[in-house]
C-alpha cells in the first residue's frame, strides 16, 4: 500500500516535472496584410520570373476571335455565350462519347453560375478560357430516364435563369414560367426512354441544387476538362458565330 502510494506520488511528480518545462504567460495574435508597402523579395521574384514568363506567353497566345462582347447577362433564358459553351461541349465531346460507347449525347446542360467571365470583343487567348472557366470541372455524361429529364426541365423552368443548354433541346415556357413545349431534336421526351445528358462533374454531384442527376442509370466521366473543351473549340473556330436563339424561351400570352 505504502509502496503503491509512493509510486503514485513519484508518477505524479514525474508527470508534473515533465509538464513543468515552460508555461505560456502571454499570447498575442494578429494578421498582417500583404500589401504593396511591403517590398518584394528580389530572389523570390527572380525565381518566379521564368515560370511567369513562360506561362504568360502561352496564356496570351491568340486562338480565336470574338466579333462582339459575349456576356451571360445578355438574355433572359438563353445567351450567345451560354449557347456557345453548351454547343462546344456537345461538338467536342460527342465524338469521344460515341467512340467509347457507340451512343450519342442527347443534349448538354451547364449552369449560368459556371460562366465566370465575359468574352470581350477582340482576340481570344488561352487566358480567356481560364477566365471563363477557372475551375477544374470535367465533362461527365449521365444516362437519365425521360422522367428525370422532365425533372431537369422543371428545374430550368423554376430557376428562371439562362442555364446553358445545347441546341438539340428546345424548351418553351409560358409567361408564368411553366413548360409548354419540350422537344429533343424535334421529338417529344418519352418518360421511360433513356437519354444521355452531358454536364460537368460539379453539377452531376448536385451543384446548383441539380438533384435530378442523382437518379441516374449510369455515368460516363470523359476526363475532359470544360476549360480544355473551350480551348480546343476556340482553336478550331477562327471567329465565333454563336448567337442568342430560340432554344430556351418564354412566350408572351
Amino acid at each position: 500500500m505504502a509502496l503503491k502510494q509512493l509510486s503514485l506520488i513519484l508518477l505524479a511528480g514525474l508527470i508534473l516535472s515533465c509538464n513543468n518545462g515552460h508555461h505560456v504567460t502571454k499570447i498575442e495574435g494578429k494578421r498582417i496584410e500583404v500589401n504593396p508597402e511591403i517590398p518584394a523579395d528580389s530572389t523570390i521574384e527572380a525565381f518566379i520570373k521564368p515560370y511567369h514568363d513562360h506561362l504568360n506567353k502561352d496564356l496570351d497566345s491568340i486562338i480565336s476571335y470574338a466579333p462582339m462582347t459575349y456576356a451571360k447577362t445578355d438574355g433572359e433564358l438563353n445567351t450567345a455565350i451560354g449557347n456557345l459553351m453548351a454547343d462546344a461541349v456537345y461538338s467536342q465531346c460527342n465524338p469521344i462519347f460515341k467512340k467509347r460507347t457507340g451512343k450519342d449525347i442527347d443534349f448538354v446542360l451547364l449552369n449560368y453560375g459556371g460562366i465566370r467571365s465575359v468574352i470581350p470583343q477582340g482576340n481570344i487567348t488561352t487566358r480567356t478560357a481560364y477566365e471563363i472557366m477557372p475551375f477544374e470541372n470535367a465533362v461527365v455524361v449521365t444516362e437519365l430516364k425521360g422522367a428525370q429529364v422532365q425533372d431537369l426541365l422543371r428545374y430550368l423552368s423554376i430557376a428562371k435563369r439562362a442555364h446553358p443548354i445545347s441546341q438539340q433541346l428546345q424548351l418553351t415556357l409560358n409567361e408564368r414560367y411553366e413548360v409548354i413545349s419540350a422537344t429533343l431534336n424535334g421529338n417529344a421526351i418519352v418518360l421511360d426512354k433513356s437519354y444521355f445528358v452531358a454536364t460537368n462533374d460539379y453539377l452531376f454531384n448536385g451543384g446548383d441544387k441539380m438533384s435530378f442527376f442523382q437518379q441516374n442509370e449510369g455515368v460516363y466521366p470523359l476526363n475532359y476538362k470544360v476549360r480544355n473543351v473551350l480551348i480546343d473549340y476556340f482553336k478550331k473556330t477562327d471567329t465565333l458565330t454563336s448567337k442568342k436563339d430560340n432554344r430556351f424561351i418564354r412566350v408572351a400570352p
Partner: protein, 304 residues
C-alpha cells in the same frame, strides 16, 4: 498580472520596436522566451500579387512580399515557425501548367516548417501530390488521413515535434472529409478518420506522453458552418478537445480580423485563427513563456 498594464507595456514595446527596427526582443529577461508562429492557408497557387483591377483584393498578396515579411519577422525573432493549413494547390494557371512544383519550391525557399493537406491538394490526384513532394523541403503533417494503402504511405506524418529555444512544440494536422468533396479517383484508398477522435489521440501523445509546452493543430476542417452548425469545424474541435493551444485553420476562406478565443473541454483557452485565402494576409501568433509550472489561476494573458 494586471491586464491593462500588460497592454500598455506591449504598446510601448511595439512603438519602440517600430523606431529601432528589428532585433529588439520584447522580453529582456534571460529566462523568458518568445515563440512566433506565422501561418497561411488556402493560398491556392496565388504566386503573383493580384492585379490593379481585382476588386477588393487589388494589388494585395504575392509570395515575394510574403518572403520579405517572413524574413523581417525571423530577424526580429529567430524563434519563428511558419506553417500552412492546406489548399496550397489550384486557383491560378501556375497550378495547371506546373502541377504545384512552383508552389512547393517557393514555400521551401520561404522555409516553411510544415503544412497540412487540403482537399484541393488532391486535384491532380494523390499521384499528382506525391509527384511534387521532392520539391517540398518541409513536412506534410496530417493525422486523420490514413494513407497506408496509397503512394503517400510514410510520406506524411501525423505530427511533428519542434524544439525551438528549449521550447517543445507539438504540431499535428487534420484534414476534411474527402467523400463528396473530392472525386474518389483522385484520393483513391485514402481513409478518413474521425477528426475529433484523432485530435484526442494526438493531444494525448503530444501533451501527456511527449510533454510538449505548446500544442498546435493545422486544420483544414473549416472555421464554422453557419448552415450546418453540427458539422465538425475548428470551433467544434476547440470545444470538444483539450491541450490544444492554437488551431491554425483553413478551407472556409474565413477572413478573421483577429483570432477567436474558445474554451476547451477543460475550460481553458484555445486560440483559433484563419487568414482568409490567396496569401492576402499572414497570420502571426506570439507565445511568451516563463519557466516552470503556471501558478496563476487565470492562465495566459491573451491580446488579440
Amino acid at each position: 498580472m494586471n491586464r491593462r498594464r500588460f497592454i500598455q507595456q506591449t504598446t510601448a514595446t511595439a512603438a519602440l520596436a517600430g523606431i529601432s527596427g528589428f532585433g529588439l526582443q520584447a522580453f529582456s529577461s534571460s529566462t523568458a522566451k518568445k515563440i512566433t508562429i506565422l501561418h497561411t492557408n488556402d493560398v491556392h497557387s496565388h504566386i503573383d500579387p493580384f492585379g490593379p483591377n481585382d476588386g477588393r483584393n487589388a494589388n494585395k498578396g504575392g509570395v515575394a512580399r510574403r518572403a520579405t515579411l517572413v524574413e523581417q519577422i525571423r530577424k526580429e525573432n529567430p524563434n519563428t515557425l511558419l506553417f500552412d493549413a492546406g489548399d496550397i494547390f489550384q486557383g491560378t494557371p501556375y497550378f495547371n501548367y506546373y502541377g504545384g512544383e512552383l508552389e512547393f519550391k517557393l514555400m521551401s525557399m520561404l522555409k516553411y516548417d510544415g503544412a497540412t493537406i487540403g482537399n484541393h491538394d488532391f486535384d491532380n490526384g494523390i499521384d499528382g501530390l506525391y509527384g511534387q513532394l521532392p520539391h517540398a523541403k518541409f513536412d506534410f503533417i496530417s493525422a486523420n488521413y490514413d494513407f497506408s494503402n496509397t503512394v503517400l504511405d510514410t510520406h506524411v506524418r501525423p505530427y511533428k515535434i519542434f524544439f525551438v529555444d528549449g521550447i517543445k512544440i507539438g504540431v499535428f494536422g487534420l484534414g476534411i472529409k474527402l467523400e463528396g468533396l473530392v472525386d474518389k479517383k483522385l484520393y483513391k484508398e485514402t481513409v478518413y478518420l474521425d477528426p475529433i477522435e484523432t485530435a484526442q489521440e494526438m493531444t494525448t501523445i503530444l501533451k501527456t506522453d511527449k510533454s510538449c509546452d505548446l500544442v498546435i493543430c493545422l486544420s483544414h476542417l473549416g472555421y464554422h458552418y453557419k448552415n450546418a452548425p453540427n458539422r465538425v469545424s475548428d470551433l467544434i474541435l476547440a470545444k470538444a478537445t483539450k491541450h490544444i493551444d492554437l488551431i491554425i485553420g483553413g478551407h472556409t476562406h474565413t477572413f478573421l480580423p483577429k483570432p477567436t478565443i474558445e474554451k476547451n473541454s477543460e475550460n481553458n483557452n484555445v486560440m483559433v485563427n484563419q487568414v482568409g485565402a490567396y496569401g492576402l494576409y499572414l497570420g502571426r501568433i506570439d507565445f511568451y513563456f516563463s519557466p516552470g509550472r503556471d501558478v496563476s489561476s487565470e492562465g495566459a494573458t491573451i491580446l488579440v
